[in-house]
Amino acid sequence: MKPRFGLALLRLFAVQGSWNYERMIGLGAGVAEEPLLRDLQREGNGAAYRGAVARGAHFFNSHPYLAGLAVGATARAELEHAPPEQIERLRAALTGPLGSLGDRLVWAGWLPLTIGLTLAAVGLGAGLWAVGAFLVVYNAGHVALRWWALRAGWTHGVQVVTALRSPFLQRGVAVTSVGMALAMGVALPVAAEYVAGAFPGWARIVLGAAGASGFALLYWRVGRGTLTGLRYGLALVVLALIVGTVWR
């Protein structure tokens, strides 16, 4: 691996460091791309380098683990002196697909799959070992995905859509969505038993009733989405404090 490629990969781990509502992760993507653009400066083409750095920091958003795909592809396009308009179009075109793919593959796939297994393992008594195993397994996938994304973007340049059609990504989404559902299915009853195990009999009945009501309210988004899990929990806590004060 070239040192500058390694530096870009390292910077991608902080791609969301300056996240904001105007450029989203644009500044972070620009910072990650900058080491890959230094060959432009070496060629004595300072204006091209500065133009590429400025473009790299424009508005951009994607799943953070897949941002490398855009960073690698645009850096490659800049080095090949693609027209600036084409590079801007490439970044804009990648925003939606990279966000959607990353959300399905990671936030709605790999993460709940590994967390579900960990919840079940902790509920069954595996303790701190399960948490350690989660960190190792999850991050093996996480780091591999970041590395693959940057490498694929760099390899394909403006033809980066080819990488997005990779069968391993499509299979990955399919497998993790099924695995996530199975793992979370196992985790929910085990976690419920683990949490409820600390309470006496009467409290478990209250827990069951309040949990079922909350599920109905949250699933059907009563209150047009203003009711969240946190708000429901806080409302129940206030109710519990009132009941506990009255019931002496």
């Binding site: 509502y21 966000g99 959300d103 695995g179 309040a210 909350g214 806590v237």
Partner: protein, 223 residues
């Protein structure tokens, strides 16, 4: 709790706060991880895991997609464990401290995003001129700002935990604290179940969810 433990928890909570969005997103901010290691720092892994698992369930309510607004459960779990460990009825106390700190953490993230935009606009001319040093400076300052935010949220949570242990704990009966614990658990299970079902949808994975639920229920029964 001595000063060394408080500093260790503050450091751990700060790392969890940074991990959520800024760097390196390796999921130490997940409540289960944050709670387990906070428990290990305090010598009470069991409480750390129990509290961590509770807030992990809460976190399933909202996916961190795009510009979604969500509570911050990492530092909140660290504060909740600090409130809960070694106290009779401590779990209920942890629920109160954790939920309030999560709310505070979530609001602080919105403020941070606005501050980051303002900082970027101040350096707009340099960035648009392709000044790499200015770009890196703005970005690193954003990470630093998030670090300060994480320190403040964790410190506020730990402060609240200390107050709750000294003032709230003696004032509340064990029954009240049990009810609060039940309220937290009910909210967490409701959030996790609704969140999972929304995530799975009505397609083929629903069958796998049902299979998993059956398997999980069998495991509980066998135990």
């Amino acid at each position: 709790m001595n000063a060394f433990l408080q500093v260790a928890l503050l450091g751990w909570g700060t790392l969890c706060g940074l991990d959520l969005v800024s760097v390196p997103q390796m999921m130490i901010a997940r409540p289960l991880v944050a709670g387990a290691f906070a428990g290990a720092i305090l010598g009470d892994v069991e409480t750390g895991l129990r509290v961590g698992l509770l807030f992990e369930l809460f976190q399933f309510d909202i996916l961190p997609v795009g510009a979604a607004r969500y509570p911050e459960y990492g530092p909140a779990t660290v504060a909740a464990v600090a409130a809960a460990y070694g106290a009779r009825g401590g779990f209920g106390l942890g629920v109160i401290v954790g939920l309030v700190t999560a709310l505070l953490g979530g609001s602080s993230l919105q403020l941070l995003r606005r501050l980051n935009a303002r900082a970027a606009n101040r350096s707009l001319a340099a960035i648009e001129a392709g000044d790499a040093a200015a770009l890196v400076r703005v970005h690193v300052a954003g990470i630093g700002r998030d670090g300060v935010r994480a320190v403040l949220v964790t410190a506020a949570g730990l402060g609240f935990a200390m107050l709750a242990r000294t003032m709230l704990l003696p004032a509340l009966s064990v029954r009240t604290l049990t009810l609060v614990g039940v309220a937290g658990a009910a909210g967490a299970l409701a959030a996790a179940t609704a969140g999972t079902l929304r995530l799975v949808g009505w397609g083929r994975p629903l069958t796998w969810l049902a299979l998993g639920l059956g398997g999980g229920a069998a495991l509980v029964w066998l135990r």
